[in-house]
Subunit: 194 residues, 2 copies
Amino acid sequence: MIDKLIQHINSKIENKLSQHDIDLLSDVFRTKKIRKHQYFIQEGDICKIAGFVVKGALKKYTIDDTGKENIFELYIENWWAGDKESFMTDTPTPYYIDAYEDTEMLVISKVDFLSKLNKLSFFSEFNRALTERQSFQLMKRLRSSQTLTAEQKLEELQNTYPEFFQRFPQHIIASYLGMTKETLSRIRSNTLRK
Amino acid sequence: MIDKLIQHINSKIENKLSQHDIDLLSDVFRTKKIRKHQYFIQEGDICKIAGFVVKGALKKYTIDDTGKENIFELYIENWWAGDKESFMTDTPTPYYIDAYEDTEMLVISKVDFLSKLNKLSFFSEFNRALTERQSFQLMKRLRSSQTLTAEQKLEELQNTYPEFFQRFPQHIIASYLGMTKETLSRIRSNTLRK
DNA sequence: AGAGAACGTTGACTTAAATCAACGTTTTAT
DNA sequence: ATAAAACGTTGATTTAAGTCAACGTTCTCT
């Protein structure tokens, strides 16, 4: 199971991992299974672990005062799930993350992350690249959120992460895009008609 | 002039900079002045430099097909201006950055950034912290963009960056918040009335 | 196999914010 | 000093998307 993580890290760094690195990774990551509908984190938690999705699907969202879910991230295989801000700064998370499918993750504690991984040059390089990439994606999403119409947002997501449409139902995709399920449904029937 | 940069970096890292570090920084950063209305970067540029604002104010924006400016970032003293994605990945930027006031910056080339700074542990620590912080802020802004009303967005900005309201006119603030100047004006007159 | 939940669609109506336009005030440049 | 540009406000109108509600279909669990 650690293989998928090794592959993932290898794909993002310059030099392949040594056997020693691999042993160390096997040591600090542990398996965590989350059944459908179960929480990985809940609002108010101070996140002590972060997780790499080996198999399954999850969603990250807030719940507003009317009880509505606002979804911000969707995770499938090879994504990192968690609230990095809560993890790094020891502050309560505003998010929930729960499994939309039965999920298997490799998780690491903050203690191990800081004391064992982050001082390894391969890992800090990997982590830097990942953080940077996430920040580019966030900037793009903010831009889309502020400038695109609902129809354009849908089209962009279909180009960027087509796999989401295979894994999540429409009402979840709609919330991720910041629109209602009704709006998404209408856009789809309009664009099909063309 | 380099003093402001030194102070800024010192405030974000564990151990203070040594004289040697300071000399090195003085060496790789050069001064750049930008007069009001002049560009720092333009759409299509591959950004070869990034800059620290010593004095002045700038805005980062795209221009849509109708010619409208959509503002995404505002920079004043002690902010880093540039398109990091273009800078790091050598891709054309979609943004313009221009000076809203006469501005003085300390700029660094990508070559020096990679070959001289990033291998210094104090700088990579600083850079990591900065990138991480920006990514947290972006997540928060995306969340606000998707879940808050215009009135709530204004209130949040007044709490987060009250200094922007002293430095930029309302129509620029409005665009930064993803609303029109008319909407911002109406919100203000409504909330004053209360 | 059957009940209930989850999901997607459609229609009628509402609403927050955008657009369009006009106008007064302030700032800027020469 | 003065003309032009930049800025902010207000009113009338439009519009994209949200809300509310009903209904049919498809999963899912036991």
